[in-house]
Subunit: 254 residues, 6 copies
């Protein structure tokens, strides 16, 4: 039995709170168990130098943990004078994952800024960030679409992420901090609603893993992510209905 | 009449939510109108070099705005590679203000880290930070005291802060962002429960101010801060009662 | 009696030496007692990005202490890799204060760089910087005017600054370093020749201050600044006479 | 057929040149096709703060590309003022991979510094770095052992790495730069001689990948890494023979 | 007799390996005894701001030592966060020296980037860098010329460099690391094929030097550099013959 | 004839003002023509890590130009975020030069900090810095000696420096900024009172120099430095007399 009485293939409780802030184009507070990440999306009317004149947009991500989010206070990157390696790795992963879910050639020369700020870190902050940021991005991009600034809704597939680990002989889904600390193998998986993989990152920390274990972990991840994508769809039900109406109207107009 | 229908001497709605996070020693989410600041307090068992061996503690503060807290996305300090001047000024002010409210010789060789992270900025973030951080500090220090790590409760006076501004000929209390942007004079006041001033900072931006106006603004501030200190006391009612019981027990023991 | 035999409301000896250096547009060595600040003004023919195309100018300030200016050697900002918080606060204050004294829409798209480098620090370096930098700016801007590069003399009001402190029960004007170190309350005031306040910053360090003390300190400051503005006017007597002649000529031309 | 006429499951030519430099404890120039990485290993007689007094050692890695290693000149990290995210990610991966292959509790309080400097980058620099750095580490640690500074040879398993990619419908092993640029899916695998996985990182760039493809790519990697480990063993044949002799001597002594 | 049995006026063995890398415009691995420097030259189609529109080119240099190049591991500049003073001094010297050997008005608005990365440091890395980088630059610029991108071959004079030192009463040429460490006086000389001096830098470390010694050291340097320039000419024999043919063809065309 | 009517071998007017500041151990304002450098010396009671326990002292130097010292405003190093290469080169030269003039084993475990801040730059700031800093160091070290903190006066030889240049066919001494800008060859020489060379740095900028010219420039430098050392001795006449008296007393005591 797991510390918090979950089954090995059971996710923690997930809540996705939309419109959490007033000013950004999209904002979501996602909680996965005790992990809480504030995902905000700001759309800027310009693109990096290498995209100027291409009529394509860009999407980039910054990830950070607040000092009070961890057991002992986390020093700020701005105090240390540089972004730590782990944060850089995570923000590159989030950006890469979301870029596969959206057709950036349909948003014009705009940059989608994704900010994931961890308010509380109880394991799985990078996967919660991806799952939450997707919703905030959906919300933000929908506003562009609704306001007529873009003519086609550019999001292609729902994308979510979760973690799997190996403790002793057990393979478990969605590790909390305590489990994560004692896990010998740690895997993060990003997948879309069509069951396609975007990212699979398995790392042996204390122990290593066999091919069979690798495949079993991927199966577990698949199961968890399907549930997460349902949660995302529920959270976005209003927008999704609007979009379907739009589409129907389009058809009826024909 | 003000934009949000307040009287000139009327504060915005204030809520102080304690125990907002799991891990820090103290944590408060303070909302003043639409301004929201997460104040966390972490106590570390060491002091800066210049205090080693003195048996005295230290208190320091860091202030930062999340990228999604402002109308247009705020670039992170860690990306810019340095803390901006305004943030430095504010975190120095918060630290200075709280240091006057606590007897650091009674907390042993410990450092009290105050972190004020602005989730949403609608004017008055520095004064909301002071008002909220005081409560989080009170909570954190009380835990030390209750756990027997310190023998005397070191907080001396309640401290809170507010802003005052001059728009046209009107002097108004507790400016929101829109008011702040059009204010010609901007003043921040930090005061304690005994009516003593800790900090008075008045700045003429567009217009300057006369001595009479200076004195009237101070009066307005005094009125607002008294109300804020009542809110702080309400938020800490349980701890304050415990402390009083302790004191009574002490007396009865004698 | 004060350490240096001054009355409580007595300034230290002030000298303002103009044209101290060959190359900058304006340069002043101001001495207030043993405090010595070199104020130089350089005018550049461009403005920051946000002002391009507005036909308005900009004014910005940098403040620094030389390593040999203090009792124990002060480490350079360039060695520490960042500007310390105190210096940032001070240079923001100087810039803000001088911007109120000049109509930047009359200098074209130019940037006025104010550099205040403290050669010797015996208390009151920020207020001496404001008082001295005003004179250097006046000198620099006059050259622009005289050379026909701008058509109207843009300086509006003389601006100067001083400090006040509370030691024991005494309120004293223009603190030297020794007084400053033992002051329980420290206030800096920036005022113009019309008696309007630009900045009032009072800080309780060891002790706090009552409203009555606040008002008395402001009165003391007012008295000191009036004297300082006379010194500035004396130092600029030649330019002021030229400007008056100009104005008369203008009138006679009409 | 691939650009360089290889089969889909065929590695590029690999050469491992030991003792490449005079001064470091171990040094290897590894070439994988046109990719060339200089791997040096320096052993320092101290450990990071968090390991002091534990009698355990540490292993850390730095990875960098020389300016002339790429098609267009790569700006130095020292000029940019920070290590780029990709390099950080890679050096973390190399360090993590090698730490699983060595028992750091057997090297005393020493730090093994791994430096991977890419002289020429034609794809697969991170996997070539792991494969080459392992050999340099083996060499360096053997010297410690031979000099009697450690009593047990601490390397547990041979570790090597390779990449796999998907171009169109083809899955191919060990991508060169041109292939890497056009690959829709990119995977890096680190494995030890016992067929255990240390790291599996698959990333969909242009296209995503199915579970079947994931498993096929892992199979391809397994095949390639087995060959690489044979190359490593050949390169270290002299040391391996010495170590076996040692072991035999030990037995015969009993 | 010297440590390595050389005469006082004898250079170490010099080898110059051209076309060492695939991608840069020019690349040379120069070895002077055990000192090995990789010199790469990249030509970029733009110039620094101050040269835009002048139709002149620029040449700049960066010098760095790899971590494994020295007896104890050298910390990277990117880790230290800044380029050390010695490296800056050296890269400025290399740039300055090479700029005298080429007519930058003949290469159009291009920048020649010289990168000198020390693989192994056994004394004289700065002078080996100059000698090797000259050859790489010659090679790179020749390609421009051959490809018709520039119409005149811009290199004017061969340039090389060496070091001289004083140990006890002996003046010796081309110091290795061991000699360099014990030298009381250290001099670097850069000279061209016409016997003109570009740079003479003599530094008394432990002892100082008389005018007579200064002149003798310069004579020694002259002798060494003449030999080095012959080596450079040998290494570039193919290009020099092509250039002469070109010239002859030009003449025969007339 | 030169711009300022000097002979080719004529120095500019030199003044050395001692005790310029109140707080540092030594301080000198040196003027060489219009060049003005403030040299301050601070002695700290500790040494860098590598000298701890050796009972030897250390001497280090920092050099900087004030923003107003040059024709167009010089950006501060602290704003640029790094010390520019030229400043680093100069401060290393000053430190090296002064270290040869003092026996650091006689000052105990102390660090002599030399700060050279250029107030006005009209050519020759590095050589003026050396000449002035020597005097400030002499003054500072004498105070240590007089206060009985060290038992032997550690300064060995007077050290000064000057520059020489080649313009057209003329070799000239002590270049001002205008001359320096048009000089084709630029040389700096540091020498002691015994005619020994500490540093000879000749650089061909536009043109190169022959051996004959090199030797003539050295002769010119020698002449100038002799005069400068006389000026230093005059400026220190009081201390030098005290030191001689001390020595006599010592003798008479025997």
């Amino acid at each position: 039995m797991r510390i918090d009485n979950r089954q090995n293939d059971e996710l923690r409780k997930v809540t996705i709170q939309r419109n959490y802030l007033l000013y950004p184009n999209g904002s979501v507070l996602i909680k996965v168990g005790n992990t809480a990440v504030l995902c905000t999306v700001s759309i800027e009317d310009k693109v990096p130098h290498f995209l100027k004149g291409t009529e394509k947009g860009w999407l980039t991500c910054e990830y950070s943990m607040l000092p009070g989010s961890t057991h002992s206070r986390k020093m700020r990157d701005s105090t240390r004078g540089k972004i730590d390696g782990r944060s850089q790795e995570i923000q590159r992963l989030i950006g890469r994952s979301l870029r596969t879910s959206i057709d950036l050639s349909k948003i014009g020369e705009r940059t989608i800024w994704i900010d994931c700020d961890v308010l509380q870190a109880d394991g799985g902050t990078r996967t919660a960030s991806i799952t939450g940021a997707f919703v905030a991005m959906y919300e933000a991009v929908y506003k562009l679409f609704k306001d007529g600034l873009i003519t086609e809704f550019p999001v292609k597939d729902f994308v979510a992420a979760t973690s799997i680990g190996k403790i002793g002989e057990e393979l478990i889904l969605d590790l909390n901090y305590e489990e994560d600390s004692s896990a010998e193998v740690d895997m993060n998986v990003v997948m879309n609603e069509r069951g396609q993989f975007i990212e699979v990152q398995g790392t042996g920390e204390e122990a290593l893993f066999s091919k069979t274990e690798l495949f079993e972990m991927v199966d577990l991840a698949e199961k968890g992510i399907k549930t997460l994508i349902e949660k995302q769809k529920d959270a976005l039900i209003d927008i999704r209905m609007e979009l379907e109406l739009d589409e129907e109207n389009c058809i009826s107009n024909e």
